[in-house]
């Protein structure tokens, strides 16, 4: 959460500047006006399920559209490679000297994925494609329910530790000369289970999910997953993201409640925003949950500079 807050926050909004005041209604009425839409969520789940189905169908029916699994695949013959896997392989190759494994297809896969997720907004992979994210997102509701009923306590950690894991797993690959992370990677495990049939290692997924339900919300995605960190680096330079318009915001902070990475929406708190227009940072997965929930359409999924071209 290192936001270089050199800018001073803008003065907090006055009552008559609130979006409901402009319409001449009460805040409650303003919030009630919003039809309950799940536009982006439905789109996202459709994409997620479709591509995971495509992985499965490509093998099951031998149609060969999207062969392989999420750790490495071919889309209409174009190689794709999990970037964190690729980084580990480069580290191992530099240790062992077996550079033959860094083939042309390996680099094609690596750079195509980097290019694609640069254009699509980095961690877009997480919420739009990752099968573990889909499960975690859904069990999170159960977790929230239990917290609300005061059955369990919320445990949160410093989100910076994911960088430690990112470096750590790369170093582990370097020193042990194995793809350590791939062995415990829930993304790969679920993907392979979907495509090649379930195995006992799915118990690891169950353990993770139970831990996330009863102890710490979205533990894996928030604090550990180095794949997400790799993509978040791309997000920093990517043109796609959620844009926030201060003038339309009523500071209800419902978006932060639904957000999967609430620290990225720090600017919605009254008196925090430093600019009229803000964009979400590296950890944002462009899931669109905040866009769906926003009553004043202050949050939108946007491609930066795209409206200037039009």
């Amino acid at each position: 959460m290192i936001n270089l807050k050199k800018l001073q926050p803008l003065p907090a909004k006055r009552r008559e500047e609130m979006p409901n005041s402009k319409l001449g209604i009460t805040f409650k009425e303003w919030k009630a006006n919003k039809p309950n839409k799940n536009k982006w969520r439905n789109k996202r789940w459709a994409v997620l399920l479709f591509f995971n189905f495509l992985f499965w169908a490509s093998f099951a029916f031998d149609i060969g559209v999207l062969e392989g699994s999420l750790s490495g695949s071919r889309f209409f013959g174009i190689y794709l490679m999990d970037p964190y896997n690729a980084l580990q392989e480069m580290f191992i190759a530099s240790r062992t000297g077996y550079f033959a494994m860094l083939t042309t297809n390996f680099f094609i896969g690596f750079f195509v994925i980097l290019m694609f997720y640069f254009l699509m907004g980095g961690r877009t992979f997480c919420s739009w494609l990752c099968p573990y994210h889909f499960l975690a997102e859904n069990v999170e509701k159960l977790h929230n329910y239990l917290v609300k009923k005061k059955k369990i306590k919320e445990h949160s950690y410093n989100i910076g530790i994911k960088y430690i894991f990112w470096v750590g797993f790369l170093l582990l690959a370097f020193f042990t000369k194995t793809l350590v992370f791939e062995t415990i990677n829930p993304v790969g495990i679920i993907s392979r289970a979907l495509i090649y049939g379930p195995g006992l290692l799915l118990l690891w997924i169950v353990v993770l999910l139970i831990f996330e339900i009863v102890y710490s919300k979205r533990f894996w995605c928030r604090y550990v997953c180095p794949i997400g960190v790799t993509y978040s680096v791309l997000k920093k330079v990517s043109p796609v993201g959620v844009e926030f318009d201060l003038s339309k915001c009523g500071h209800c902070r419902d978006c932060q409640d639904v957000c999967l990475v609430p620290h990225e929406l720090w600017f919605v708190k009254r008196g925090e925003a430093t600019k009229e227009i803000h964009s979400t940072g590296a950890d944002c997965t462009n899931c669109g949950l905040c866009v769906d929930v926003c009553y004043g359409d202050a949050l939108t999924l946007k491609i930066k500079g795209f409206d200037k071209i039009l």
């Binding site: 490495g72 999990d82 297809n105 430690i164 750590g168 582990l172 350590v180």
Partner: protein
């Protein structure tokens, strides 16, 4: 309040980070331990054609399963959790479904994105055979087929292991013949018979083939490599009777078709992985 928000943040980071480092080291130690076990364990896993040495294979394979998907006869499977660190890596169980080179082009090797199955030696072998053939036959005959020449050389270049025959249960050694279909009913393994009379272009069920031989010689006749890999040795014993025994030669690729078609007990023929330096 004596502490600023960033102070609390930093201390939380250090505290949580320390736990993360401990967890990472635990994973590392565990992985290293499993790896030692694994090298022993993986000796029993028959890797697909072109697999590099196990010590390299274990990290070169990213467990994507592209080789599994491309195999036309589904010979390649992914290992489960019982194989430790080899989890998710490809292997072949020749008794259930052997690699019979049905694809003709070593597709699993070609598709591997990280050279865990290394295609370059196969490419070289194919090209060399092609050049050698052209030198030997300056004027190509009517049955000239450059693809078949390369494919044959590439197949012969495979070294997955070596077949080992257990003389105690071999029908031929006992002097028995064989009649009927080789495997139990409902067996789903397929292969492409090398018998030129059948002219099989695609693999068919093992049990679709009927055999009738005076001395069981399925492993010899059905070998996709042929005479350079396995022959039937005959000699006259002390009592004057003829004795037969199949003999594995250097050309054996360890593909395991003989293991699959053997009508005797499951461990009459096994594939032993080669010891590499």
């Amino acid at each position: 309040m004596g502490q600023s928000k960033s102070d609390i943040n930093r201390r939380q980071f250090l505290r949580n980070g320390a736990v993360a480092v401990v967890a990472l080291s635990a994973v590392g130690v565990g992985a290293n331990y499993l790896k030692k076990l694994n090298i022993e364990n993986a000796k029993t896993l028959l890797r697909p054609p072109g697999a590099v040495d196990e010590s390299e294979f274990i990290y070169a394979c990213i467990k994507c399963g592209l080789c599994v998907q491309i195999c036309p006869i589904e010979a390649i499977k992914l290992a489960g959790i019982s194989d430790g660190l080899s989890y998710g890596t490809p292997y072949i169980d020749p008794r259930a479904q052997a690699c019979d080179f049905s694809c003709d082009a070593m597709q699993c090797i070609e598709t591997c994105p990280t050279s865990a199955l290394d295609f370059i030696p196969f490419k070289t072998a194919g090209e060399e055979a092609y050049v050698a053939y052209n030198k030997a036959n300056p004027t190509p005959g009517p049955d000239y087929n450059p693809i078949a020449i390369q494919s044959k050389a590439m197949k012969a270049h495979t070294k997955m292991g070596l077949a080992v025959i257990n003389a105690k249960t071999c029908f031929a050694v006992e002097g028995k013949g064989f009649k009927g279909t080789p495997r139990e009913e409902g067996f789903e393994g397929v292969y492409r018979s090398p018998n030129p009379k059948l002219k099989e272009r695609k693999a068919s069920l093992v049990n679709d083939h009927l055999f009738n031989s005076e001395i069981c010689n399925l492993c010899v006749t059905e070998c996709p490599i042929g005479d350079s890999a396995i022959i039937m040795e005959t000699k006259t014993g002390i009592d004057g009777k003829e004795q037969w025994s199949p003999k594995i030669l250097d050309g054996c690729t360890g593909c395991g078709v003989c293991v699959m078609v053997c009508p005797s007990t499951p461990d009459t023929i096994i594939i032993e992985k080669l010891e590499t330096a």
